[in-house]
Amino acid sequence: MSGTKLTPVITEYWDDAKPWSIDSYRSHGGYSTLKQSLETDPDDVIATIKDSGLRGRGGAGFPTGMKWSFVPQNDGKPHYLVVNADESEPGACKDIPIMLANPHALIEGVIMTCHAIRAHHAFIYIRGEVPHPIRRVHQAVAEARAAGFIGKNILGTGIDLDVVVHGGAGAYICGEETALLDSLEGLRGQPRLKPPFPAVAGLYASPTVVNNVETITSVPYIIRNGVEWYRGFGTEKSPGFKVWAVSGHVRRPGIYEAPLGITMRELLDYAGGIREGHELKFWLPGGSSVPMLTADHLDTPLTYEDMVEAGSMLGTGTPMVFDETTSVVKAITRWLEFYKHESCGKCTPCREGTYWITGTLEKFQGGFGQEKEVDELVELCNQIMGRSFCALGDAAATPYPGALKYFRSEFTDALTQPPDDLFSPSATMVIPSPAGVAG
């Protein structure tokens, strides 16, 4: 064993000259077992993914093989695969790098998944604000088509598949799978009532699997190397590896691929630790929609189950790290402004609630709040939690109670002293402050 816990699999050849090219991917084994996989019984492919224990990387960690098995068979309807490449959760920054550097692993995953769920049509829904990843995925589809991996009668197997790359137009809610489907049908991107779940009635009311970019990108590696190999990484309930994206006040922010079950202390160490002369204040395991944690949780394994136990969630597995210069009040107010802006307005608890929370937090900072409101705001969040139409409402109700649990005094301090007086904004910055700029 080498001395590192890092396990570059998806990221293994990103230092190639053009890792995004089909030649580069093929030189590392890409597409080598595609034909064999397409000749395997689809149910066996589903069984392999089930046995591997792969869980969705979009945030909820739902078992992927199980999701695929919900698609009814021989129902006479077309089936669809929709790849969720909307990556817009604050803090999440792993799918965009994957599409920039390794789009062919995603495409091979799409082909294998479509075979498993008996779909002949796949869509890759990429958020609109990222032209470069959009170019790379379009090119990967074109290269795969030219190589005979997409189109009619793939590799002589009799299987037909069409893949459409679709750019969005700016709306976080379109990452929610049913809103994404409405958006893809050409409607306003608002969530649908569940059930029926997409696996039964999804795109154009037909059975549809919606999976995250990283989930689908993991598939070809599992198919090529087998269940036992995959389960050699991670833990019993959270097997495998993932692409961790560590951001914030660390010396070397970036992409670190490692098994689930690694700890934040270890990831922090690889990322060079907290920036010079500072110490950790709080961190979030995966996106702004999961509760924050502190230094007390650095040794908790980063798995779906352990993060819940610790009072948070693994979410997108893209840890954001903040040091002692950061105002918790400002940090979460900014997230709440985001949820307010992105609330689709379909249901009252979220539409009105996000305004109330944001307004109250701004009132605190403006010196107009009262101490009892610090607790009343928790009550308001509780009213939103579980009563919203989709998980965006729950997400919006998460940051404040989570922050209050560890940093209550900061909210009461804000009643009398603006956060900018207590926490110098330039101290939080990682670039030279305006005063340091000549001219």
Binding site: E129, R188, D269, M320, F338, I431
Partner: protein, 217 residues
């Protein structure tokens, strides 16, 4: 100004990519916006006609998404500054303020010469590279204020400007065509895999070759 025949033909091609044409509305709006500079009544009518739906239905869709400009034309270059927590507090707020002063405009406003539109944007899925500036939606990662000022000066002078990850910027309208799904032939340009994306791989490779890659403090 009505929509050109070429754009109408390309719009029909976009709609034809889907099992149901209406799915093409979001890309079509990007494409027509690239020609007109905004989503105006010409765009709305052209979309409605191609998809055989009412103009009210097109408006309902277009107003839902933030990338469509419903009121004013966008400038030649779109300047975005991420002000979500991960960037805003780490320098994005200061970047935005400096750019607003330099350009003399506020959020979603365009300079009088039509050159720049400034926008406070949300998380760009590049938090590892905070604070993030975008020009025509290409990444200018970990941008300092001095670098942002230089980018504006060079664009004003008509010089070539390279993002940190992506091809040289070509203007907002060209980017809108790319987002719509038209091939611009630039997929191989502009690298895109930088040191931060290789951070873990480097440590792992160093460890494998016997050099201890973990950090000594």
């Amino acid at each position: 100004m009505s929509i050109s025949e070429q754009t109408l033909a390309e719009s029909r091609e976009l709609a034809g990519r889907y099992p149901k044409a209406r799915s093409g509305i979001v890309p079509m709006l990007h494409l027509m916006q690239a020609e007109v500079g905004m989503v105006n009544s010409d765009v709305i009518e052209a979309c409605a006609e191609i998809l055989d739906i009412s103009t009210a239905e097109v408006v309902a869709v277009a107003t839902f998404y933030t990338m469509y400009r419903m009121r004013t034309e966008g400038g030649e270059h779109h300047i975005g500054v991420c002000v979500n927590t991960g960037c805003g507090l780490l320098g994005g707020d200061a970047l935005y303020e400096a750019l607003a002063v330099k350009l003399g405009v506020g959020h979603n406003e365009t300079t009088p010469d039509g050159k720049f539109t400034l926008e406070r944007i949300e998380c760009q899925a590049a938090c590892t590279h905070a604070p993030v500036l975008t020009v025509d939606w290409e990444f200018f990662d970990h941008s300092t204020i001095a670098e942002a000022m230089d980018v504006i000066d060079r664009l004003t002078a008509g010089e070539e400007v390279l993002p940190t990850r992506g091809p040289a910027v070509r203007g907002w309208r060209a980017a809108e065509r790319t987002v719509a799904g038209l091939d611009d032939g630039l997929a191989d340009e502009g690298g895109g895999v930088d040191e931060l994306m290789l951070a873990g791989l480097k440590v792992a490779k160093a460890a494998e070759s016997g050099v201890d890659g973990t950090v000594k403090k």
